[in-house]
Amino acid sequence: MLKIALAGIDRLFAAIAASKKLYLPIENAGEVEFSEYSEGAKVRLDALQTVKSAKDAFFPFTENMMQFHTDGKNISVEAAKRVDEDFVVFGVRACDARSFSILDKVFLADPPDSFYAARRAHGIIVGLACHRPEETCFCTNFGIDPTKPETDVTAWIEDGVLYWEAQTEKGKALTEEISAFLEASDEKAVEEQRERTKKILERLPLANLDLSYFKTHPELEIFKRPEWKELSSHCLGCGTCTFVCPTCQCYDIRDYNTGHGIVRYRCWDSCMYSDFTLMAAVNSRKSQVERFRQRFMHKLVYNPINHEGEFGCVGCGRCLRKCPISMNIVKVAKTLGGEQA
């Protein structure tokens, strides 16, 4: 294990940023989001979570896919350049780290999405262990250990010191590059922190959700539960829950005329929106009941069916904190799964 005093961490960031793009939690106008590092940026490694998740680093909010040039009846297509340089995402929590493996199963499945694949191949992730989880955190239900994120490098912050441990070949290579800033350390402080955090985790209010119902009953039965109506009755269809969620993957593809050609780009979309499935004569999801049900069925039922039992939720708690009507996946799971909501 290696370490660096937090007091000098800006030098480490500057050293990484000298050769690679570096993204980390940065406070801007009172909100902390993963953003590109620049000197003087207000880095907030202490923030437990960014408002949006870290998925932006691999699946950006908007992304150009190609450009067209037209000339009379002729068209030419120019694919957008894929990311071809390494970059570092620093300070990713264990829940967001797991979300990448959930997104991988969609975007890297045959045929792979080359835009996402390029970012995954070039992204180096430095995870940051949690030691002050919030009441809305429930990642441990999904087998996630927030005291040791599954990332290229895992970092811990304890008492003014950042501890550093490479976990993968990519992580080792990054460590090599910045070894001048790191010194050797024992693991005592980290071990103690992990023990302390585990005790807090056990006592979190949502530590023991029973999600077995969703894997043991047929999708049609769960789909037909009458409770969906009541659960969705106040949903505004604002889509906030989908935009903050690290595992939501839906996107739209659109064209935009720049004046110098036409760009076809993709951007995040939301199954909570009424026009998401709108067609000429019909909309397969006519009201918010169907749209709301789709979001939670996808996470709790369809994802496990399609991806070897893995839920499409990592328990980050963002939708619990951000929904304007305080509806969320935990309430849905408890109501349908038989627990008291």
């Binding site: 896919m65 694919a79 045929p111 037909k224 993957q249 996107y251 999801r285 369809y302 399609n306």
Partner: protein, 277 residues
């Protein structure tokens, strides 16, 4: 099947021929810029066509895989992109990507079966490909019977090919019908679901239905009343699509993505899924 480097980046196609089939359906012949067939496919598969700046849409490949020279699409004018497509003149380029979807199981479940095709309106588009495929490999299939209906005489797609090539063919029966009587029409008049009941169909057939949802619903009901089981009947589903490869999350029916697990489903398979379509 040939692998493309990136599924969402389209190739180019050139429209070489535009044929007006009905007042609102045109059939477009598309080749690659080199003058060859743009891509290989199986019957029932689809491709994404687009005009840059206008939009992209999923369309059934209506020509048979056995057609080596080109690919055809029958497109109904119903919105923004399809109106632009209807304005196209030969020589215009479009973008094309695919093929997408599972297609009909012509090499497995349908092999050796007596086949009954039931189409309504533009629903002939996906079936047209299967019919010509089965005609080409005639020895692999039993009797072929086709029921095709439209609002009026003028709304029957591909009528020339049906009358000149399909009707005279041995071992192939064609039943045409239109919704209301019309001058110059000597054939059957009436809705497809009712016609199905009048035809004295034998129950040993595998059925492929395509058409408007309401027609499918009543036709299936009537087939079941005649004694057909849902395991015998295939259809194609149409949901809003963007990526075509199971990633954008738009076209699912329950746990299945229509763009990759469909668009062809057997009715007993659909029974296990939410009826959200």
């Amino acid at each position: 099947m040939m692998k493309r480097p990136e599924e969402q980046i389209p190739a180019l196609g050139v429209v070489t021929d535009v044929r007006r089939d009905t007042p609102d359906v045109k059939t477009f012949r598309v080749v690659s810029p080199e003058g060859k067939k743009p891509l290989e496919h199986m019957p029932g598969q689809c491709a994404m066509l687009s005009l840059p700046g206008i939009g992209e849409g999923m369309f059934s490949i209506t020509s048979s895989p056995t057609q080596e020279e080109y690919m055809e699409f029958s497109i109904k004018k119903c919105g923004h992109l399809t109106s632009w497509l209807h304005e196209l003149e030969p020589g215009q380029m479009v973008t094309i990507r695919g093929p997408y979807g599972n297609g009909f199981p012509v090499e497995t479940e349908l092999k050796g079966k007596n086949l009954l095709f039931i189409a309504g309106g533009i629903g002939l588009a996906p079936l047209h490909s299967v019919i010509n495929y089965c005609r080409h490999y005639r020895q692999n299939y039993g009797d072929i019977e086709i029921i095709y209906g439209s609002r009026s005489m003028d709304d029957l797609v591909d009528i020339r090919e049906i009358q000149e090539e399909w009707e005279p063919e041995e071992g192939l029966k064609v039943h045409l019908t239109i919704d209301r009587p019309q001058d110059g029409w000597n054939g059957h008049v009436g809705f497809v679901p009712n016609y199905v009941k009048e035809l004295n169909l034998s129950l040993d057939k595998t059925v492929l239905i395509c058409g408007p949802p309401i027609m499918i619903k009543f036709t299936l009901q009537n087939l079941q009343e005649l004694g057909f089981s849902r395991e015998q009947v295939y259809t194609t589903m149409e949901l809003r699509m963007k990526c075509g490869i199971g990633k954008c999350g738009r076209c699912n029916i329950g746990s299945k993505y229509v763009c990759k697990d469909g668009p062809v489903f057997r009715f007993d398979q659909l029974d296990e899924l939410p009826d959200e379509y």
